[in-house]
């Protein structure tokens, strides 16, 4: 059973599966809403020290802001199940977005894990980059330092590289890495 589940629905070089979810403002979000745009998907849980490190150091908000000015869409997917202490109600999430200085087109409440499983998200953070045609071009870690204490600004940021490659019309150099971080807190 578990084995069948790990034959991947997501595959780099193939169309990214369309996702549908509700954001923390109650709005329905589809991946197809962003057709024609580069989309970054972030598997998120700020209680996870690996995620937290990227926000505390300001690296992630900076990247988000930078991308937003270049017309890149950013979707946050939070798959923490409702019984977990790290779960956020919509009100808490709205506050957290301000507090952590997050710039994103949507924070999708995936507490039933549907999108997480569709994209085979295993860790927080885990990053996906989708090009303007809707093809998945990157799946993996945010950067090359699997450490909750490192300075992200000195690390090699694969998402930044992939998006820059796309923006400059080059093929994406690193399209897959092993993601690192905390396990996604799906319901048992």
């Amino acid at each position: 059973m578990a084995f069948a589940a790990s034959t991947f629905a997501v595959e780099v070089g193939k169309p990214a599966p369309d996702l549908t979810g509700t954001d923390i403002n109650g709005k329905t979000v589809h991946l197809s809403d962003f057709k024609g745009k580069i989309v970054v998907i972030e598997s998120y849980n700020s209680d996870c020290p690996f995620c937290n490190n990227h926000y505390k150091t300001g690296a992630m908000p900076e990247l988000q802001k930078d991308f937003a000015t270049n017309g890149v869409a950013w979707l946050i997917v939070n798959s923490v199940n409702p019984n977990h202490p790290s779960h956020r109600t919509h009100a808490q999430a709205q506050a957290e977005m301000k507090d952590k200085n997050i710039t994103a087109n949507a924070w999708i409440d995936d507490s039933d894990g549907k999108i997480g499983h569709l994209y085979d998200m295993q860790t927080t953070p885990q990053m996906f980059v989708i090009n303007k045609d809707g093809t998945l071009v990157y799946d993996g870690a945010i950067d090359d330092k699997a450490d909750p204490f490192h300075n992200p600004k000195t690390a090699r940021n694969y998402v930044k590289e992939a998006v820059n490659d796309l923006l400059t019309g080059k093929p994406v150099e690193v399209s897959q890495t092993k993601s690192y971080g905390c396990s996604v807190k799906y319901a048992e």
Partner: protein
């Protein structure tokens, strides 16, 4: 409920705060000031004092609170391996971390490899020979950083230190044994127990590709004793071997490999994990990946035909159990019962065929009921969390005393001291003798045969019992009953075919003499059991002898005056008084039959046997230490009650050729005395077989697997077994 929630929320906030503070500084905070983490860490060393040139072991002990875990060197789908940053005086260098075997931690969708409760990361520290390290105390320090997770993950770190004296000698520390204990949990190479192959199952156009890993056990006990294989891969940046394992058959695994960059890997590296009676063991494996599955003929021998080694089936083990039971009939420990059975056949030879057949079945029933009872005891022992073994009841002194007394009574009965028949008359005619060997007698013989047989193991039997002990209750019952069927089969067969008994002479007065003659092998069994008791009681065993003499005397009064005499009442009273008095005085007051002498007193007598070999007592630590020192290790698992140990293995070991070879190899020779069936020994024995005799030879190469010597066959001469030992020693010396 609400209260707990609040408490939990507070704890969580504290924990979250801590990691925020650390994250803000961007650097791990030093010192043991963290009170919020859920793992306590300490550093221990295998030596208090070391000299230049030594390599000692450092152990970083991580104790996790319930529910929390830390990670292995490959943390799996999430998590982070624990790191150790050493701060060592110059002249001391640290090697790589040796990681104890981790567990696979759920959930299945994000599987990680880690440790719950406790682990100890082991690191070799080498003190350089030509270092200018001053003599005296030095500080061994390290910063340990780890990620601990339960519902949430918390990164933490702690400074640990320990003191080491540099001197001109080596002194091991009080922690050395703990370190050796953890060292035993680090996966070892086990190359000659398994042969390993791996191949891609198909081509792949995308980034995931199925891989088949095939483990072929090279020794049959390996295939039987170990179950549930799995493979924990080494971490790689280029690819990931998914944690989910699909079993193609007992020893072939399918794993999905996900590639991140570069080419498909050419080899895989990781740990083969197997279970053995509730315990898990790991073996390091590195193997090239073939582009295609092996050619057809090799596949057919491993996959299609049920190869003996790749997957022992229940059917095969039942066959082994049956053959093992059959062979038990000619083992020396069952010999006296054979004598009784021959007597039975002789006396029944001219009876009605139906009666003969019925007695044969009743004998079989006696055997089967006894085996069923034994299976029940084994299951109960297993359920209680202990390791069960064949013949373990001989480790219980009360059992040995009862059995000795019982067998003595059988001998006295054969000598005609007393009768079992109700009339109590001396039995002269065949008919009378037959009536005596009626149904209860046949049942009793079945019981006696079973009890005595458990002190022996036989070819095939070890495999079957080993298989049973590592499986569930129904399998144990099935295998034990099948051994019983094998043990009873020859007699059932003979009873059902009276024609086969035609060769027996006509019954007559000679049978009375024959009966007495049969008593002597039974008496020999009494002496053997007495010798077993001697190792339990030491010098106190004298009182068991005294007890038996009085029992014999009481039996004679019973036969002569109760059964055959006139003053039955008073005679019976005397018998009872004698027995009660004998029990209270000899067994309770003098022998203290419920208490064995201490282990130390018991083993010295065995260890100092004057056979020219410097025997040392066995312990897992003794083996580990000798291997660490690069010496071959020879272990003889033996027991006073084990007939083949004393009749075949011991004389073989005393041969000059074997002694010379052991000395020449500079082998550490360990004696594992299983007479009292200590549990750690049962553990070790069940790793390689089912019972004693068992001889293990650990080769000089500390990574090589031990050689398990084949069990001696019952009719083997010690000189031929000595040859077997010598050949194995030659292999081990390489």
């Amino acid at each position: 409920m609400r209260f707990y929630r609040i408490v939990f929320a507070i704890c969580f906030c504290v924990a979250a705060n801590v990691c925020q503070t650390q994250a803000q500084t961007g650097l791990p905070s030093l010192g043991g000031s963290l009170s919020a983490h859920h793992t306590s860490v300490k550093l221990i060393l295998s030596a208090d004092t070391a000299k230049p040139g030594d390599t000692i072991w450092a152990g970083v002990d991580l104790k996790m609170e319930p529910g929390w875990h830390t990670y292995w060197k490959n943390s799996g789908d999430a998590g982070m391996p624990t790191k150790i940053q050493w701060q060592l005086p110059s002249g001391v260098t640290a090697g790589e971390i040796q990681w104890p075997l981790p567990e696979k931690l759920p959930p299945a969708e994000v599987t990680t490899y880690g440790y719950e409760t406790e682990t100890m990361l082991l690191v070799p520290l080498t003190i350089e020979t030509n270092s200018n390290l001053p003599m005296g105390q030095v500080d061994v320090k390290a910063n340990v950083s780890w990620l601990e997770c339960k519902d949430v993950c918390i990164p933490a770190n702690q400074e640990v230190d320990a003191k080491l004296n540099i001197s001109s000698e080596t002194k091991i520390s009080a922690n050395a044994a703990t370190i050796v204990g953890w060292k035993n949990k680090v996966p070892t190479s086990f190359t000659n127990a398994f042969s390993v192959r791996a191949w891609w199952e198909k081509f792949s156009t995308n980034d995931s590709r199925p891989l088949v890993i095939e483990f072929s056990p090279q020794v049959i006990t390996v295939a039987i004793v170990y179950t549930n294989p799995d493979f924990y891969p080494k971490a790689s940046d280029q690819f990931e071997i998914q944690s989910a394992t699909e079993k193609i058959n007992a020893w072939d695994l399918r794993k999905l490999v996900k590639k991140y960059s570069g080419n498909w890997p050419k080899e895989i590296s990781g740990v083969l994990v197997v279970e053995q009676g509730g315990r898990r063991l790991g073996f390091d494996v590195t193997v090239p990946i073939a582009d295609e599955s092996p050619t057809d003929e090799t596949i057919s021998s491993t996959e299609n035909s049920p190869s003996m080694l790749s997957a022992p089936s229940l059917w095969q083990m039942l066959l082994y159990a049956f053959i093992g039971g059959l062979i038990l009939n000619i083992m020396p420990c069952v010999l006296p019962v054979i004598a009784l059975k021959i007597l039975g056949f002789v006396s029944e030879a001219r009876s009605e065929p139906r009666r003969v057949r019925n007695l044969g079945f009743i004998y079989a029933l006696g055997v089967l009921v006894s085996f069923l009872a034994m299976a029940g005891i084994v299951i109960a022992v297993k359920d209680a969390g202990h390791h069960a073994g064949w013949g373990m009841q001989f480790g219980n002194p009360i059992f040995v005393v009862c059995l000795t007394t019982l067998v003595l009574l059988v001998a006295l009965n054969l000598f005609g001291v007393y009768e079992i028949s109700p009339s109590g008359k001396i039995l002269n005619s065949a008919g009378q003798l037959a009536s005596k060997h009626g149904a209860p007698g046949a049942f009793f013989n079945g019981f006696l045969a079973t009890i005595l047989s458990t002190s022996c193991t036989a070819a095939y039997l070890g495999y079957a019992i080993g298989f049973a002990l590592s499986h569930s209750a129904p399998v144990i019952v099935l295998i034990f009953l099948t051994v019983g069927l094998g043990l009873a089969a020859p007699y059932v067969l003979l009873s059902c075919n009276p024609a086969l008994l035609k060769f027996l002479p006509k019954p007559g007065p000679w049978m009375q003499k024959f009966k007495i003659a049969v008593g002597f092998p039974v008496l020999a069994t009494v002496i053997w059991l007495f010798n077993v008791a001697a190792s339990d009681y030491g010098a106190r065993v004298f009182w068991l002898g005294a007890f038996l003499v009085v029992v014999a005397f009481a039996a004679w009064i019973f036969g002569e005056f109760v059964q055959r005499g006139k003053r039955k009442g008073i005679s019976l009273a005397i018998v009872l008084i004698l027995l009660v008095g004998d029990y209270l005085f000899a067994l309770e007051n003098k022998l203290h039959w419920r208490e064995m002498i201490s282990d130390a007193d018991a083993t010295t007598s065995l260890v100092n046997s004057a056979d020219g070999i410097n025997w040392q007592p066995w312990s897992p630590q003794a083996v580990a230490q000798a291997r660490a020192a690069g010496k071959p290790v020879f272990v003889d698992f033996t027991a006073t009650w084990c007939v083949n140990c004393n009749a075949i293995v011991k004389p073989a070991l005393e041969k000059d050729s074997v002694i010379a070879k052991l000395k020449e190899m500079n082998a550490v020779v360990l004696l594992a005395d299983y007479t009292r069936t200590p549990p750690e020994m049962t553990d070790e024995i069940s790793k390689y077989g089912a019972g004693v005799p068992m001889v293990l030879i650990f080769p000089k190469n500390p990574d090589a697997a031990p050689i398990v010597l084949p069990q001696p066959s019952p009719l083997q001469l010690p000189s031929s077994y000595a040859k077997t030992i010598s050949d194995a020693l030659d292999r081990a010396a390489k």
